[in-house]
Amino acid sequence: MTPSSSPDRAANAAGSEPTAASAAGRVGLSLGQRISVAVGVLILLGVCFGFLKGAQPTLQTSINGLVTGSYLALAAVGLTFIYGILRLINFAQGDFLTFGAYMALLMNVFVHVDIVISLLFACLATAVLAMVLELGIWGPLRRRGAGSLELILSTIGLAYVIRYSIQFVAGPDLQQLRVNDISFYRLPDGVTIGRTIALTTIASYALLLLIGVLLRYTQLGKQMRAMADNLELAETSGLNTRRLIVLVWAFGGALAGLAGVFYVASTGGFDPTFGFTLLLPLFAAILVGGAGDPYGALAGGVVLGLAEEWSTLFISPAWQLVVGFVVLILVLLVRPQGIFAPAARI
C-alpha cells in the first residue's frame, strides 16, 4: 500500500452510500428518499395550511420560513460538522456569526469596500479565527487529554471573549451594513419578499447544494465524511486528520461568517449580542435534523424555520421561538436521532 493510496481508500469507503462503518443496522430510506419524503410532507402541510388559513398568509409565512431556515441551515452545517467529527459542541458558533458580521462591517462601512468583497473578507476572517482557535486552544487541549466538559467550557469562555471583545472595540450600539434592507419584490397575491433577503436566501440554498455536492463527490468531502463516521478508523487508514480538522474548522468558520453577514444584511440593525441569540435555534436545528449530519442540519434549519413562521398563522408570534423548541422535543420523542440521521447512530 502506498502512502497516498491509503487515505483515498478510506475516503472512498466512507464516501460510498451508505458508508461501510454504518451500513450495518441501517434500516430504512436512502438520502434521496429521505429528502423526498421531507419535502413532500412540508408541501402537504403547506397545502393544508393554505386551505385552513388562506393562500396569501400561508405563502407569505412559507417564504419567511424558508428565509429563516436558510440562515439556520448555513450556520448549523458548520456546527454539526464539528460536532460530528470532534463531538465538540461549539458554544462560540453564534459569536462566530457576530464576528463575521463585524468583519463585513469593518470593510463595508469603515473601509468603504463593496459588500461582496466585504462578505468574502468576513468569511476569510472567520475561517482564520476558527483555525487559530483550533491550533491555539482546542487542538492543544485535546492533545493534553481534555474531556468533553473542559472543551465545551472552553467554547463557552471563548464565546464571551469574542462577544465582549467586539463590544469593546465596536461599542454596544446598533450597526448596519451599507445594503438596502427595505426594498422588496412584490409577488402575486400580495406576497412580498425583501430584495436583499431574496438574494441571500437564494445564495444560501445554492451554497448548501454546492456543499452537498462537495461532500458527496469530492475527495475532500469524502475525507470529511470519513472522519465524521469514525475518526479513529479514518486516522488508522492514513488520513491526515489533524490537517483535516483544521480545514473543517476553517470550513465551519467561513460558513458561520457567511451566515452572519447574510443574516444582518437581510434583517437590518445588529449589535454584538445577535449571534448569541441565534445559538439555541442553531442547536435545535442540528438536533432536529440529526446531530453530526450536514444534510440533517439543512433539513433541521428548514423545518424549524417553517415551523416558527407557520405557527404565526395559528398563535401569537410571541410564541415563535417556543414553537421551534416544541418541534425539537416532539422530533426527539418520535425519532431521537433526528429526522435525517440513520437509525444506527443512536
Partner: protein, 432 residues
C-alpha cells in the same frame, strides 16, 4: 491664704470652664465626624437595547449629587452624598447583578432600572429584601407600579403607561379626524413593558369607538419579524402603534417597510425613542413618526439652568437623551428624602419621598436646594418641583399628571411639536 472651701469652688469652676471650653472647641469636629453619608447606586444601561440612554442618565444623577453636596455644605446640613453606577445590561439578570454589586457597598437608594422588566427584577431581588429606596426614571408599566404595595419602597419619576396610552389614543383620534370605525394596528415586544402598554392602548382606542389589529406581541429575540409585519399590515390599518425599544424596532421597522404597506409617518408610539434615529434603523421606519412622551418644561429658569449645568458639567455625553431629567429628579428625591429623614436608611428615606415631592408646602426647585435643605433639616414640609415636571408623587409612588410632549421625527431628529396637559380627556396646550 485661701480657705479650703473656696479652693474647692475655684477648682470646680476652673474644671467646669475647662470642660465647657473643651466642649465648645470640640463641637464642630464632633459634628464633622457624624456626617451621614448617603450612598446612591445608579443602575443604567451601558450595553444592551437601551444603551444609548445610559451615559446621559448617569451624568444627570452625578449632577444631582454634585449639587446636593454643595447645598449640604452651604446649608450646614451634616450629610454627604455619593453615587456609583453599574451596567444594567440587556435584561433583568444583568440588572439584578448590577444592583447586587452596588448594594454590596452599602446603599441608601437605588436608581433605575430603565426598562420595566429590569426595574421589577431589581425591586424583587434587591430593593425590597434589602429595604432600600428604589426610584426608576423610566419604568412606566403598571407592573412596576404594583411593586409599591410591597412595602412602599419603589417609586418612579415617569408617568404610568395607562395614562400615556389614554393620552395617545385621544391624540390619535384628534390627529386622524376621529377614532370611530378606524382600524389601528397595535404591536409590541412581549415583555412587561410591551404587553401592558399595547393592551392599555387597545382598550383606550376601542373605548373611543376605534378598531384594532392585535395587539400583536413578538419575541424581542425572534429570528425574523416578517411574519409579524404581515400580521400588522393585514386589513390596511390607518395607523400603527408600536411599543418597543429602539434596538428591536430597528428590525421590526425594516420588516414593516418590506410589506410595502407601512410608512414611518403612520407610526405612533409612547416608547422611549432617542433624540436621533439610531444607526441600524431605516430612516423611513421612523421619519415622520409621532412620539408621545412624558414631557418636561422647555422654557423657564429651572430647565434653562439645568441645560446650562448639563452642558458645563465635566462628564460625557454632551447630548441629553430623553428622560435624563427624570433620573436627575430621581436622584434629587432620594437626596431630599434623606435630608428630611435625617437618615441614610433606605426604609426611612422611602417614607419621606411622597412628603418632599407633593403638596402641601412651599415649592422649591433644585436651584433653591440650599433653602430646601435648611427647611427639611428644620423639620418643615416642602413640595419639590423637579426639572422633568412637578412630580407630585401619589400614595402609589407614581407621578400624578404632568406635561405631555408631542414629538415627531423630522430630518432624522426627534422634534418637539407641542406640549400639553391632559385635562378632562383633552390635551390642553401648556402655557409658556
Amino acid at each position: 491664704m485661701i480657705a479650703p472651701r473656696y479652693m474647692v469652688v475655684v477648682v470646680v469652676a476652673v474644671a467646669a470652664a475647662a470642660v465647657f471650653a473643651t466642649t465648645g472647641d470640640a463641637a464642630p469636629s464632633s459634628k464633622a465626624a457624624s456626617v451621614t453619608d448617603v450612598k446612591i447606586g445608579d443602575v443604567v444601561p451601558l450595553t444592551g437595547p437601551l444603551a444609548s440612554f445610559g451615559p446621559s442618565f448617569y451624568k444627570a444623577a452625578e449632577i444631582a449629587v454634585s449639587e446636593a453636596n454643595a447645598a449640604a455644605k452651604a446649608a450646614n446640613v451634616p450629610m454627604s452624598f455619593s453615587i456609583s453606577s453599574a451596567d444594567e445590561g440587556s435584561g433583568p439578570t444583568s440588572a439584578v447583578s448590577a444592583a447586587r454589586q452596588l448594594e454590596s457597598n452599602g446603599l441608601s437608594c437605588l436608581l433605575g432600572g430603565t426598562s420595566t422588566a429590569d426595574s421589577v427584577a431589581m425591586a424583587q431581588a434587591v430593593t425590597i429584601p434589602s429595604q432600600l429606596t428604589q426610584i426608576s426614571p423610566a419604568a412606566s408599566s403598571s407592573v412596576y407600579g404594583a411593586e409599591h404595595a410591597k412595602g412602599g419602597l419603589t417609586f418612579r419619576t415617569i408617568q404610568d403607561d395607562n395614562f400615556q396610552a389614554k393620552v395617545l389614543a385621544y391624540f390619535m383620534a384628534k390627529n386622524l379626524g376621529g377614532a370611530k370605525g378606524k382600524l389601528v394596528a397595535v404591536g409590541g415586544r412581549n415583555d412587561s413593558y410591551g404587553g401592558p402598554a399595547t393592551a392599555a392602548f387597545a382598550a383606550a382606542w376601542k373605548s373611543l369607538g376605534g378598531k384594532v389589529t392585535g395587539p400583536v406581541l413578538y419575541d424581542p429575540n425572534a429570528l425574523s419579524y416578517d411574519s409579524v409585519a404581515s400580521q400588522l399590515v393585514a386589513g390596511n390599518p390607518v395607523a400603527f402603534v408600536i411599543e418597543d425599544f429602539p434596538q428591536t424596532y430597528a428590525k421590526v421597522g425594516a420588516a414593516l417597510l418590506r410589506t410595502g404597506k407601512f410608512s414611518g409617518t403612520n407610526l405612533y408610539t409612547t416608547s422611549g425613542f432617542p433624540a436621533t434615529i439610531p444607526t441600524g434603523t431605516p430612516d423611513a421606519a421612523l421619519e415622520g413618526a409621532w412620539v408621545i412622551q412624558p414631557g418636561q418644561p422647555t422654557s423657564g429658569p429651572v430647565i434653562a439652568a439645568y441645560n446650562k449645568l448639563y452642558a458645563s458639567f465635566d462628564a460625557s455625553p454632551k447630548l441629553q437623551q430623553p428622560y435624563n431629567t427624570n433620573n436627575f429628579d430621581a436622584a434629587m428625591l432620594c437626596i431630599l428624602g434623606a435630608v428630611a429623614a435625617h437618615s441614610s436608611s433606605g426604609a426611612a428615606i422611602a417614607k419621606k419621598i411622597e412628603d418632599v415631592s407633593a403638596p402641601p408646602g412651599p415649592q422649591y426647585t433644585y436651584t433653591q436646594l440650599t433653602a430646601a435643605f435648611k427647611a427639611l433639616w428644620a423639620g418643615k414640609k416642602i413640595n419639590f418641583q423637579g426639572v422633568s415636571g412637578s412630580l407630585d408623587l401619589d400614595s402609589n409612588g407614581d407621578v400624578s399628571g404632568g406635561l405631555i410632549d408631542v414629538n415627531r421625527y423630522k430630518n432624522n431628529s426627534l422634534t418637539l411639536i407641542s406640549q400639553a396637559n391632559f385635562v378632562n380627556d383633552e390635551l390642553v396646550p401648556a402655557k409658556g
